[in-house]
Amino acid sequence: MSNDLSTFRELVLWLWQTHEKPWDYRNEHAKFIVDSYNLAASSLFDRELEAYLPSESNVSNCFPNNRYFYLTPVTDNRIMVPRIQLKCDFGRNIPEIRCRLELFLLDNNAEVQSLGFRFESPEGKSAQTVGVHHYYHIQLIQPPTTRIDWLPETQPAFPIDADDPVKLLLGLLISLYGLNYIDTILREAYHIRNLGKYISGIRYKNFDVFEWYRIIEIGNPPRHVEGYKVISNLNEFEIFIRGKYQGCNIRSITRSEYDALDRAMRKIYP
């Protein structure tokens, strides 16, 4: 089995084992959403999921029309019930992945509403065209509960930081559960072959923590007294500076301006 295929399959199966099933949702709003439309009836069962995922003997596979993999509800801010449906073909140099992500949520009148997205692999290019969607991308799709005639289903096609099916799936998970979910995967799905390699290739993980650059000016005309690299709480820093230099002006500068200051003037807070 190719690395991409085995890691992709194992990751989906790990998600199945660790995610709440729609009939077992603990969140009351999510339960209400599921009960409102008997969504549990469209859930795959475990042996069905195994059969409909791509495997060594069947590299091209897809879920049946009305079967979905329900994930744990998103509970940050607005409660959402996510479900996905997969169509995969690993018999291609760039594997084909079409993953529908549908979200069910309650509006302000406690009515169930829905949204739909497609997470997709590159769609190919010919000798004549560059291939407008020849990159890993996300598009809007018709929501499951209603039809919106004016919905733009082709563009925008948002690029996603992925160059293989595993990173596409990780991107979907990050979009639902946040970046910290990657740490959960690393901690709990350590047994999945090569997963660490895929995760280390995700650039989302490589952003530095925030630093702000400020210069403190006093008097008229202004005289620079200190430059600061602020690493944590910016509000706390401003209170500290205004206590130290009454009537001072705190101005934002770029990192290169900060680096160009005299060594004696460059300070770090805290």
Binding site: K21, P22, W23, D35, S36, Y37, N38, A40, A41, S42, S43, F45, D46, R47, E48, A51, P64, N65, N66, P144, T145, T146
Partner: protein, 399 residues
């Protein structure tokens, strides 16, 4: 078996007599089975069954003996056995007798009493799991014997929906035995129509009962063989008496598998009240008529349940293998002839829920929700909770 009989086995003739008195109060039982019989020479009967087992293992017999003390078991249409048999000299439990009777006699439906806690008093088992490990067809507390709903319809008051109707079950079991003749080498899953995508809905725990290796290849004969599943003949090199014995063991054990393991989850096969709970449109009228709703909780033929006949092609056709009509859920949930499937976002929901303890639909706010111990999306169920009846294990009630 020519005459229908109920045989009661207990170590105490007084207690056995009290069971007899209880069931004699129900007229239909006396009409169907005559006066229940007490097994007066129980130790001899058990000894004869053990001897049959021994002789079968030694290939010493090829048919049920016609002259031993176990004949009383052969002649029982319903065998009622108390679990605790402390007053017998032999160290034996009711479950051991159930095993011997199932594997080495022609007995019919086996009812074991007081094997599971809280034992004697009437209780509702919130796990809904049944007891597949038991060789009895049904395990109940002895107090439940006197419940008329256990024997026949109509039901009133406390009456768990997962009980079969005993009077019907005896004939059904014999029809299953007849149906299996000539099919012992059929694969079990195919025989019942669990093929293709249907088979994918069966959880591993259910398949494991059939075989620990290749359930899709398991035949009835191999299932019964002691080297097969471990759920037919038990113990190393245990043999059956004859072909009829293999059939009887297979019919009873696979029947229990369907009734106590496959059906309760309601996501592989679904029965009428659980089906209309999900698809009320199958009852036809726009407004839900409570009488029609409650009429679905019956063991009658589907034509009498008031359901739309469009579901008929999806009926579980081996109808004698279950106590009630059932349908394949996997096909129904995709059938666009059903309103709720065709328009999933416009459907109405029932205000009432099905109460598993009284076989009736009640307004949801007058019921109590529990989570049954089932490997199923439909483990969330409801009871009316009748005063004075024990519901156990209580931890299964939703908070």
């Amino acid at each position: 078996m020519t005459k229908k009989r109920i045989l009661i086995c207990d170590d105490s003739l007084d207690i056995g007599g009290s069971f007899k008195n209880k069931i004699e109060q129900i007229n239909a039982i006396k009409r169907t089975f005559g006066e229940p019989i007490l097994a007066e020479e129980l130790e001899n009967t058990i000894g004869a069954l053990e001897l049959r087992r021994q002789r079968a293992n030694d290939n010493d017999i090829r048919d049920y003996p016609e002259d031993d003390a176990a004949q009383v078991i052969d002649n029982a249409t319903i065998l009622i056995i108390d679990y605790a048999l402390y007053d017998l000299e032999a160290p034996v439990t009711g479950e051991r007798i159930a095993y011997l009777a199932r594997c080495y006699s022609r007995c019919g439906f086996i009812v074991a009493l007081n094997q599971y806690p809280p034992y004697v008093e009437e209780f509702f088992d919130l796990t809904l799991r049944g007891h597949l490990e038991s060789y009895a067809n049904l395990n109940i507390p002895s107090e439940s014997l006197a419940n008329p709903g256990l024997w026949l319809e109509p039901f009133s008051g406390f009456r768990p929906w997962n009980w079969p109707s005993l009077i019907n079950s005896t004939d059904k079991l014999e029809r299953c035995v007849a149906e299996l003749k000539g099919h012992l080498d059929d694969t079990i899953l195919q025989f019942f129509g669990f093929e293709g995508t249907r088979s994918l809905t069966l959880p591993r725990s259910s398949l494991e009962f059939l075989s620990r290796e290749k359930p899709e290849e398991m035949t009835f004969r191999k299932f019964v063989d002691s080297a097969g599943s471990g759920n037919g003949l038990r113990g190393r090199n245990e043999n059956s008496i004859c072909e009829e014995a293999v059939i009887r063991i297979a019919a009873a054990r696979i029947g229990s598998w369907l009734e106590h393991d496959i059906l309760p989850s309601q996501n592989i096969l679904v029965d009428a009240p659980h089906l209309v709970s999900r698809f009320p449109s199958l009852l036809g009228s726009k407004t839900i008529n409570i009488k029609k709703l409650n009429a679905t909780a019956s063991f009658s033929e589907p034509s009498k349940l008031g359901l739309n006949p469009i579901i008929e092609p999806f009926r579980f056709l081996r109808k004698d293998w279950l106590s009630r009509p059932a349908w394949f859920w996997n096909e129904l949930r995709d059938n666009e002839n059903i309103d709720e499937v065709k328009n999933p976002w416009e459907t109405r929901r029932l205000e009432r829920v099905f109460c598993e303890d009284i076989c009736k639909f009640e307004p949801k706010d007058q019921t109590r929700e529990f989570i049954a111990d089932l490997n199923s999306p439909y483990s969330q169920r409801y009871v009316k909770q009748i005063q004075g009846t024990n519901y156990t294990p209580m931890v299964r009630f939703s908070l």
